[in-house]
């Protein structure tokens, strides 16, 4: 089953012919590199094999990919992008300049390499990366894990910065050099945005009142097979690294904490095992196809599990910031996230759900 995960035909094949080193460092952060080229000056090459293990090659050497390895050429930056921290406030943003971390000799896994292996389909462009970073930031702010309230004081800003820096490092493996609030009024014109929304609503809404509410759900482009494969690949590759990092992030102070920590790791291990042995999306039993709506349900659970994984990385960043500080809240969060992972992966395995409404 796992083999099929990595031979997945649904992943976009890397466009070998499109390697353009001039894009690197400006519009693109990483590009798939054809074998045999010499790595241009400030870049480094990241080679990822089918099992997600990665290695780096320094600038100047030739890319000699082994059997089954995919190579990327990564420019360290620095890059600048604008993030909108609140979807409801498009005219105020953060101008972030960041760089891809050089290989950290203390770490066994480079986080950015893991990001390439598990999330980058082919090329990583700056705009796409910015969108991912913005989603991560918006979720942390919405959950109240980072705070950027109206009239932020300097002290609050510094707290936010340290949390944000750690989030970007832990989640994406990039270091934030600078981050300043900016007025995005010129590029994100809110009146124009609302105009566009109004125009979209001009489609008669009045008729919707009589229609069943379920029909009003937006039809989003959701291809179950692609979403499922992407989410499971992420879980399969990232959970072991996450567990490793969680093990190191907390030094249990006493017996009680040790037990708690150990229990958490044990449960994560079981989730990881469950992901590794996940049944194929389209089969209810060997040789017995599963109904399309059940496949859709399964894919939704995979995606929600991947969302819980994102939360877990953000929580790891908070653990690192907290250091020796109070960990009770963080362990409760960890319990919640692991419970979500267990629920979603469990629901992904079953072939149908029996719904009961009443208590």
């Amino acid at each position: 089953m796992l083999g099929s995960l990595f031979r997945n035909p649904l992943r976009r094949p890397p466009r070998q012919d499109a390697f353009d080193a001039t894009l690197l460092g400006s519009a693109a952060i990483a590009l798939p590199a054809p074998a045999g080229i010499t790595i241009p000056a400030p870049c480094a090459a990241v080679l990822v094999d089918r099992g997600g293990r990665s290695r780096r090659l320094a600038a100047g050497s030739r890319i000699a990919a082994l059997e089954g390895e995919t190579a990327w050429c990564v420019h360290p930056g620095p890059y600048t992008c604008d993030l909108v921290p609140f979807a409801g406030a498009p005219e105020i943003g953060l101008r972030v300049s960041f760089a891809v971390d050089a290989s950290d000799p203390r770490a066994t896994h480079q986080r950015f390499d893991l990001f390439l292996a598990s999330e980058a389909g082919s090329a990583v462009d700056l705009a796409g990366f910015g969108a991912l970073a913005q989603t991560a930031l918006q979720r942390e702010l919405a959950q109240g894990n980072l705070e950027l309230p109206p009239c932020t004081t300097l002290e609050e800003w510094n707290t936010f910065r340290s949390g944000f820096n750690q989030l970007m490092y832990t989640r994406f493996g990039v270091t934030v050099d600078d981050c300043v609030p900016v007025d995005l009024g010129a590029t994100h014109d809110y009146p124009a945005l609302l105009e566009a929304r109004l125009a979209a609503q001009a489609v008669p809404v009045t008729a919707a009142a009589s229609v069943e509410p379920v029909a009003a759900m937006p039809a989003e482009a959701f291809v179950p097979a692609c979403e499922d494969a992407r989410a499971l690949r992420r879980l399969f590759l990232e959970l072991p690294c996450l567990m490793c990092a969680v093990r190191m992030a907390v030094l249990p102070a006493d017996q009680g904490r040790f037990r708690q920590h150990q229990e958490l790791l044990r449960r994560l291990d079981l989730v990881s095992l469950s992901v590794g042995t996940m049944p194929a999306l389209e089969l209810a039993a060997p040789g017995q196809p599963l109904a399309p709506e059940e496949q859709l349900r399964r894919a939704r659970h995979s995606r929600r599990a991947a969302a819980a994984l994102d939360e877990a990385w953000a929580l790891l960043a908070r653990m690192k910031v907290a250091g020796e500080g109070p960990l009770d809240v963080l362990f409760d969060e960890a319990d919640r996230i692991v419970a979500n992972l267990e629920t979603e992966t469990g629901a992904r395995r079953v072939t149908h759900v029996h719904e009961e409404v009443t208590a």
Binding site: G88, Y190, P191, L194, L198
Partner: protein
């Protein structure tokens, strides 16, 4: 954080005028469904309730699969009545601590788009005092309970709260709501761009001056918006609502950072065009009122001059409750 709640209830007024209660209880999930509902003698209604609650949960940023919430209505109701939907959603939120209710709630409202958090309307015609009324003229979406703008609507509106009088035991927090929509799309452009229903002429002049000054400071927002300002309670005194008004305006126009809870502000200025915030009277009673009312995620903004004179332990008490406080000299980014 706050102490966990295991039972909560929210009431709703049925079409015949009687009151129904929806009680929510929370218990460990233990492999069961996330939401269960029961309505005496009406399984179809229970199914609808489960659907409503599940859809409304899509608007929450935090998902917790550890608990099961059981919702039960205390009486059967007419299948055509849908005003209980808001009460069910609120009961579900209160029992999980997503929403803090200071006092028992009565709520009426229905929606065809709970997954967007929108509340489309209500059947109740004469809304008694203290009843949360869903719909465009009351609470148009779930975020409005804490003053947040609706991320999907074409009209951006935000609320901020301020002490109505000078604090004290009988005082309360009142809200000011600023709604803006793009001027170009407004049909009657010759109409005044800032409309203030139910305010007297003197107050109207004040509000217009404050908004004009604050938008001048901003550099944007002049001649772009058609604005409506509403107050929850028009019988307030003084001009210390100024800071709350300015904050609501900035949040509505998408130019201010946001908080998860409410913005509670008191402060005035003679120079909003320079972004300055000046001090107001009644420090002690207002602080006592704010301390009484503040909840998790709330943001409290006070004038800079109050910083050294804040009551002992106020900051700590607020932080313990999950609220944050700042004494500001100027509005705008740091």
């Amino acid at each position: 954080m706050t102490a966990p709640v295991f039972e909560a209830s929210c009431r709703s007024i049925l079409p015949d005028g009687s009151m129904m209660t929806i009680t929510a209880t929370r218990r460990p999930r233990a492999g069961r469904a996330d939401v269960k509902c029961s309505v005496p003698g009406a399984p179809a209604q229970a199914e609808r309730m489960q659907q409503v609650v599940r859809l409304a949960r899509h608007t929450e940023p935090r998902y917790d699969s550890r608990d099961q919430v059981v919702l039960s209505a205390d009486r059967a109701f007419d299948p055509a009545a849908r005003d209980w939907e808001l009460a069910a959603v609120l009961a579900d939120r209160i029992v999980r601590g997503v929403l803090q209710a200071a006092r028992p709630m009565v709520a009426n409202g229905w929606s065809d788009a709970w997954h967007l958090g929108r509340i489309d309307g209500r059947a109740l015609v004469n809304v008694p005092d203290g009843v949360l009324a869903g719909g465009p003229d009351g609470i148009p979406h779930l975020g409005a309970l804490t003053g947040q703008p609706d991320p999907g609507a074409a009209t951006a509106s935000a609320r901020a709260w301020f002490p109505l009088h000078s604090g004290g035991d009988h005082d309360d927090l009142g809200w000011v709501e600023v709604s803006v929509r793009p001027l170009a799309s407004a049909m009657d452009t010759d109409d005044d761009a800032i409309s203030l229903p139910d305010l007297d002429a003197l107050r109207q002049g004040q509000v217009r001056a404050v908004l004009a000054g604050a938008r001048h400071f901003d550099g944007r927002g002049q001649g772009q918006w058609k604005t409506t300002v509403r107050f929850g309670e028009t019988g307030f005194s003084g001009d210390s609502y100024g800071l709350a008004l300015v904050m609501a305006d900035r949040i509505a126009r998408g130019r201010e950072f946001m908080t998860r809870g409410r913005v509670i502000a008191t402060g005035t200025s003679s120079a909003w065009h320079a972004g300055k915030v000046e001090t107001v009277d009644a420090l002690a009673p207002k602080c006592a009122l704010i301390l009484r009312e503040a909840g998790p995620g709330d943001r409290i903004l006070l004038p800079k001059a109050w910083e050294s004179a804040l009551p002992q332990g106020m900051r700590e008490a607020l932080r313990a409750r999950g609220a944050s406080i700042a004494c500001v000299e100027r509005i705008g980014i740091i």
